[in-house]
């Protein structure tokens, strides 16, 4: 049971072009990888991963449409409604962990990175171009091994973050990969991990309405992403016919990714 609370924005940080972090106080206990349903009064309610899980929570928003634009425009003292946290979150495993994020995917991965002792986590961040590389400084605080890839080569390695992951898996032994980003990236990531026989946990996004495991709008192959996910293991992902290929729109219609 996750009743709506009203939270007041305590800080607004512009992370990069179109990317904003809002902090607010909420007493719920949140695990890395879990998400909130965020109500922007008069506009909409949308799912947002927790990018900070301490007492002062945070969300990191990419402005892609009406709700995210309104969220990105909020100021200190403005109010939002929060429900949650929802979902399972990442399982913090033993051994060496490789973290791979694309876009705002880093938002949910960083709290996971911070929950792992610094010596055993490497972080890979991908983006189209250097100005879109997110949360780099924060990542550097938790790991000495932070690497970047950009599609245009403007920063770090030229190419995708999946290629970067592949290089790392070939060069070093990892026990677990944690990933979050666009689903095509995640689907490629799963293949790369499978090939290297390294387990992974990937965080998915689906159209969410209730967030509470009720309405079924977020299902992938009958599994509720808001409840049994959003983080799934390699074994679970391999069984999903829709993973990497299709999702549901607001009407529940199946659409290609």
């Amino acid at each position: 049971m996750n009743k709506m609370r009203i939270a007041t924005i305590t800080s607004v940080t512009k992370e990069a072009a179109g990317i904003t972090t809002l902090r607010f106080r909420d007493d719920a206990e949140v695990k890395p990888g879990q998400f909130y349903m965020i109500w922007i009064p008069h506009i909409d309610e949308v799912p947002m991963s927790a990018s900070y899980t301490s007492a002062e929570k945070g969300i990191t928003i990419k402005d892609v449409g009406e709700a995210t634009h309104a969220l990105s425009s909020l100021k200190v003292h403005d109010r939002i409604g929060v429900r949650g946290p929802f979902g399972n979150g990442f399982m913090i495993s033993q051994g060496r962990v490789l973290i791979a994020g694309g876009g705002t995917g880093m938002a949910s991965l960083l709290p996971a990175a911070e929950a792992i002792d610094p010596g055993r986590v490497d972080v890979l961040i991908g983006a189209k171009t250097s100005s879109e590389i997110l949360l780099l400084e924060r990542a550097k605080k938790v790991s000495n091994e932070v690497h970047v890839s950009t599609d245009d080569g403007s920063m770090g390695k030229k190419g995708t973050v999946v290629e970067l992951v592949q290089e790392h898996l070939e060069a070093k032994r990892y026990d677990m990969v944690l990933g979050c980003g666009p689903e095509r990236m995640l689907s490629a990531l799963l293949k790369v991990c499978d090939k290297a026989s390294v387990e992974c946990q990937l965080s998915l996004e689906r159209y969410m309405k209730c967030g509470a495991g009720l309405c079924g709008s977020c299902v992938i192959d009958g599994v509720r992403v808001c409840k049994e996910g959003p983080v799934f293991s390699s074994a679970e992902l391999r069984k999903m016919k829709e993973f990497g290929s299709s999702k549901r729109d607001e009407c529940g219609r199946s659409v290609r990714l």
Binding site: M1, N2, K3, M4, I6, M37, W39, P41, H42, I43, D44, E45, V46, A67, R79, G81, R83, K209, C210, G211, A212, G213, L214, C215, G216, S217, V219, I220, D221, G222, V223, R224, E242, R248, E250, C251, G252, R253, S254
Partner: protein, 302 residues
């Protein structure tokens, strides 16, 4: 050993629990999953003629004792739903197609489509409390309900259930209209008109403002409707509203329901809810000497 098998008209169910319309039932994958989890039948999301997005968020308010929702009848539309039904049909249990419409003709059209898709029965949503022009605006008028049920009955050969709203003092008249028109069962209840407000934001929480209350909060209301209906109509009744454990289900059955549906319970108690209701009900029946569910139906009236 006590048997959980029941029949609603000519529809045989392995147990008296069904998935209620609107909960994890918009896709074949989720319908199949609920069937595997132990439901005796599954009812689809209410499907209309055209795809609908539903309302913007928030569409759900969580309460200690239930939910208030105003999803706005999102659905892929009857054409796109063909693919889901094709796959869902392979399910172990009957798939009941729920439909909503704004005229008797549209209801008939959707019903015959659902029948073509392999639905085991039709559930007419005459009771959605928060979609203008649909649902309970139709469902509080006995004459309109009579016409809808009669036309749907003549448009298809599978059983037709009418799902009614508790938001009226004319429930029994409406139910009698269903019976007179040849309806095969009554499903009661849909959600109760409700609202949630945020004091700090100074406005209703749901984007649609009004919504429908479900879950334990409405169990006593649903139980009352089923009890009153059982005294007045002779067709089977399916009880819905706040069922989340075996005791709730037994109470509905004793009030007069031949089966129960579980909606909010899926969110609150998990998908295990179907299996745990069945296990608990069977143990109760053995303890209390009931051989079959039908022996419990309506015993609270004796």
């Amino acid at each position: 050993m006590s048997s959980l098998e029941v029949t609603i008209g000519n529809l045989a169910l392995r147990n008296p629990t069904m998935l209620a319309s609107g909960v994890m039932d918009e896709t074949a994958g989720s319908l199949l999953r609920v069937a595997r989890a132990g439901a005796g039948a599954v009812v689809t999301k209410s499907i209309g003629s055209e795809p609908r997005k539903g309302y913007p968020g928030p569409t759900l308010v969580e309460l200690d004792d239930g939910y208030i929702n105003a999803m706005g009848l999102p659905n892929p539309g009857i054409e796109a739903f063909a693919a889901e039904m094709r796959e869902a049909r392979s399910c172990l249990v009957p798939v009941i197609g729920s439909i909503f419409a704004s005229s008797p003709k549209e209801f008939s059209f959707l019903a015959s489509k659902m029948q073509d898709y392999g639905a085991a029965a039709i559930e007419l949503n005459l009771s959605c409390p928060h979609a203008k022009g649909y649902g309970m605006e139709i469902g509080v008028d006995p004459e309109t309900v009579f016409t809808v049920v009669r036309e749907v009955k003549s448009a298809c050969s599978i059983p037709v259930f009418a799902k009614l709203t508790p938001n009226t003092h004319r429930l029994l008249e409406v139910a009698k209209a269903v019976e007179a028109a040849g309806g095969d069962a009554i499903v009661a209840i849909n959600t109760v008109k409700a609202l949630a407000i945020s004091a700090e934001i100074r406005r209703p929480i749901l984007s649609n403002k009004g919504g429908g209350l479900s879950g334990p909060a409405i169990k006593p209301i649903g139980l009352r409707c089923v009890y009153d209906l059982h005294a007045d109509v002779n067709i089977p009744i399916v009880g819905v509203g706040g069922v989340e454990n075996w005791r709730d289900a037994v109470e509905y059955i004793m009030a007069g329901a031949s089966a129960v549906q579980v909606g909010s319970g899926v969110g609150r108690a998990g998908l295990e809810v179907f299996e745990s209701i069945c296990t608990g009900m069977q143990a109760f029946m053995e303890r209390e000497g009931f051989n079959s569910v039908s022996h419990m139906v309506g015993v609270a009236h004796e």
